[in-house]
Each structure stands twice: as C-alpha cells, then as structure tokens.
Symmetry: C2
Subunit: 313 residues, 2 copies
Amino acid sequence: MKIALDAMGGDFAPDAVVEGALLAAETLTNEIEIFLIGDEKRIHSLLQKHGYTGSRVKVVHASQVIGMGEHPTKALTQKQDSSIAVGYGMLASKKVDAFCSAGNTGAMLVGAVFSVKQVEGILRPALASFIPKLKGGLGVLLDVGAIADCKPEILEQFGEIGSLCAEHILDIKKPRVGLMNLGEEEGKGTMVTQPAHKLLKENKSINFIGNIEGRDLFNDKADVIVCDGFTGNVLLKMAESIYDILVEKNMKDPFFDRFNYEAVGGSPILGVNGNAVIGHGVSSPTAICNMLHLANKMAESHIAEKFKKHFSA
Amino acid sequence: MKIALDAMGGDFAPDAVVEGALLAAETLTNEIEIFLIGDEKRIHSLLQKHGYTGSRVKVVHASQVIGMGEHPTKALTQKQDSSIAVGYGMLASKKVDAFCSAGNTGAMLVGAVFSVKQVEGILRPALASFIPKLKGGLGVLLDVGAIADCKPEILEQFGEIGSLCAEHILDIKKPRVGLMNLGEEEGKGTMVTQPAHKLLKENKSINFIGNIEGRDLFNDKADVIVCDGFTGNVLLKMAESIYDILVEKNMKDPFFDRFNYEAVGGSPILGVNGNAVIGHGVSSPTAICNMLHLANKMAESHIAEKFKKHFSA
C-alpha cells in the first residue's frame, strides 16, 4: 500500500507529521510506503533527527504550502506545487492508494473533487466523522462540513454513502441508518428533513430506521447518522468541546477518552474516486499515525470501488 | 404575583406538579398565588395528602387533558376545557401573570399564539433554553424547537429577543449575541446563516459579536446564541444526553451538574403578549418548582412589555 501524506499540513507541521509517519511505519503491519510531501530539506532533517534509516518512509518535494486561512479554490489554482496539490496529483495518477492531510480542510475537499472527481451518480461527496458509541465501536456521522445546504436527495445519498462506509470500513453488517431530526415521529422536521425521510424510507439499498434525535448520537440506535454539513459540524465541534472540558477538569473515563480526535485521526472524504482523509488542524503524531491507519484501511477495503459499483447500479 | 400551573402536564403529573407547586409556595419570597389547573378532585386529594392548609396554592378545575402525543392544533380546538386551554384563557384574560406547563410542547407553543398572540412586529415567537456557562451563570440559546425552518429575518429577531431575555431575565448588561455557524469567518455558513449574519451585524439594537461555533456553546464568547429551531433542538438534546451519560457513570462535577434540566425548570416562550414557560416532560417536583421561579422572574421583569416596546419602536 502506498500512502501520500501532506508533511506541511497542520498546526504542528512538519515536525508532528514526520513523527506520526514514523509511528505509522512502525505500527502498520502490511507492506506500506508512506510518501511525505513538502519541503524536502526540512523533512530530511527531521528524519535524520529521528535517526530514521528505513525504506518505508519516502520524501516527495513540494515547494509551496497552502495556509490554513487561504481560500481553497484560489489557493489550489495558484499553488500548483503545494503539498496538497502534489498529493492529489499522485492520487489522481494512481501513484498512491490514498492521500492524507491535516492542512486546509476546504482545499482538501475542493482538491478531491478537482483531481480524482466525485463518483459518477454521486451528487456531492461527504465528509464523515467516526463517533464513539457507548456500547463500544464507532458510528458514522455525515456530513460534518462539506455541504452546509443539503437538498433531500443529497441527504438520501449520504445515507447510502454512510452505509457503505460503515459496512466496509467499520465492518458493520446491515448498518442501521438514522436521520438526525428534531423528533422521532415521521412527520417531524424541516422542509429538507421531511422529504429526506421519505426518500430514505423508500430507498431499498439501505437499512433505514427512521428519525433519530440529538440524544441518540452516542447510543445504539443507529450506526450511520445522516445530517447536513451545518448540523454535523456544529454537533461535532460541540462534542469536541465537551471532551476538552472533561480533560481540563481531569474527569477521565474510557468512553469519553474515545471522544479524543487522536483515536481516529481523521475524517474521510467519501464519494470521490480515491481515498482521501482530512486530519484535525491540531494533529499530534498519534493523530497523524491513526490517520494513516485509517487511510490504509480505506484503501484495503476498496471503498471507492464500492461507491462506483453502488451508484452505477 | 399570580401564576397558573398545568397540574396535568408531564409524565409524573399530577403528583410531581402538586409537590413542585408546594415547594415553590414555600420558597418564593414575594406575594404569590399559584393556580393548579386540572382535575380538582385529584389535586385536592394530593394537597390533602401533603397536609397543605395554606392560601398560596389554589385549584382551578379543568375536565380535560391534552396528551403528550396529541396533535397540538387539533387538541386545543377540540379540548377547550383542557388544563392547557384553561391556563391560556386565564393568561389572556389577565387573571394570572404567567402560565407554566410540563405538558405537550406543541400545544403550549400553539396555545400561546392562539391566546395571548405574538407581539406586534415579531415574525415568530421563539422557545429559549438557558445554557450553563463554564465561568458561571447562564446563556440563552434560541430557538430550541419552535421554528425548524427560519428565514434570515427570523434569526435576526431571535438576536433581539434573546438579547432582551438575557438583559431582563438573566440581568446581563449589553449581552453579546453570537450566530451559531460552521466557522467563525464572516463568509461562512448556509443560505440562511450568511444573510442572517449580515442582518445581525447591521442591527444597531444588539451587541452582535459575529459567528460562533459548536465549541462555543459553554464558553464565554456569547451570552445569546442564535440558531434555527432544528439546530437548537439537536444541540440541546445532545447536551442532555451527555448529562445523562455522566450521571450514569457517576461522574460528578459542579459545571456538569448545571446541565440538569431541573436547575432551570423550563424553557420560556419569548415574543408573545404574556409569560409562558414549558417544562420538560419528565419534570420532577424540583423542576416544577424552578419553572415557577422562572415564571415569577419573567413576570417581575415585565419581559413581555419590553418586547412590545422594542418591536413597536
């Protein structure tokens, strides 16, 4: 497996990224090559600092960096030798099986659609997040920020995309799909969730269990939680803040420990013709390492192929 | 102060409601009369059971009850002698200064608009919730479920309504108003939050501080958090579930203890010509007691008059 990694993405790049790559090179058990993309001088010096002499981690030079605050489309167009542009170039030309970055989220989303393109039949790709479940294991929440305004048809597809993700990446059989709503009853909801409920219910390719509520995010009702990117983003950031408060208060618990973004390491972009993962801006070496494990799992599961097959059917 | 209380509303009514009324009668320090509305035979027998002989708690008979699952408009039209209809009748005819119920939320919302009507100039009344802040004190989150689909103009008014609420009920001077959004930057958001941001920014009657994110719900950025009823409802229910998980895990903490709905007791309906509070369906006697304290505070602050003055200006 070959995975490209944006060495310049994230608040603690390139140091934390290089360290994370080395951790992944040690812990991934399959045949793996990690391509660190960025300022080769700085990366080589960091590899040297860590005394790395192996062959699993390689360096690909990129002379530019897209900053966290830059406008995604503008930056990608203007900085064609940026680490994100080079990474997507490698993914599009199939030189790697996956590409990860803890850099500019918008640029990662736009870059995915620019380079590997969305799967035919998919209206809009989604950004998914893995949610710890109280009973153990994970659930899929999508979208968490790619598409703020979603038509009912897009939410319906998120149900299908999330279902395939839960099945092939989380190994959940017949994943239960729930629609985030403000009441359990079928008639409840907005001008978008009401018709989306109808579409999801009629969709025979998924196991739709109906509406779920904010209180059901962590319980065992649904494996896949469908919502627009606005709602998902707000929910996710609120959950993160709860984790931060608990850490600050030194309130430790195995369940809440799993709120830590480091445990999963990244959010997959689902519905494009390639495996791409976006990491948290503050990614630590552990988070980077786990992001690479997730990218590896995505590539191994051939999830992009599953989307192609599903949406061409 | 005269407060009407739906004795039949809530999962543990009338027992918990009567007990809560007695607690409030003991703890409210001003001149107060509480009117328990519902099945007078059952209420009298409960008052007798508690050995109540005072004059602060009175009984008003209502022969019907609106169930939790009933259709609000239909139920209110058909059950004109229900405790909710009778309560709103007393509020509309100014026999009482406030009305509270832990019963059917939809019927309480519809009843408010039917009976005391929304304040002239207000597009849609809001249901607000008080959010515990990490530094102490409370913030106002609105809307939490009255209006699922909000136009930008409605969100702008929620900023004004929430601001008046924070000022007069929570005694916060120049309350800071934030718009819940998926990024802090001004251009971020949905087709609704983007223009709402512009309207709120141009509104000179409030202290708008810009966009806030899901992670800012409990911190000190904003005293008033504006969002549509869908987002507010989902956030609130998720926060409640976190509280439930912490209680189950026996993880105690003074901040998280304030997540307990009992501490505030209810959500005020803001923007109508009268003081109405909706309690949680599972309201305990403590919650009912605190809901009465909130209703008393609303009546004392003449909040409904403040809305009238503000929106007629």
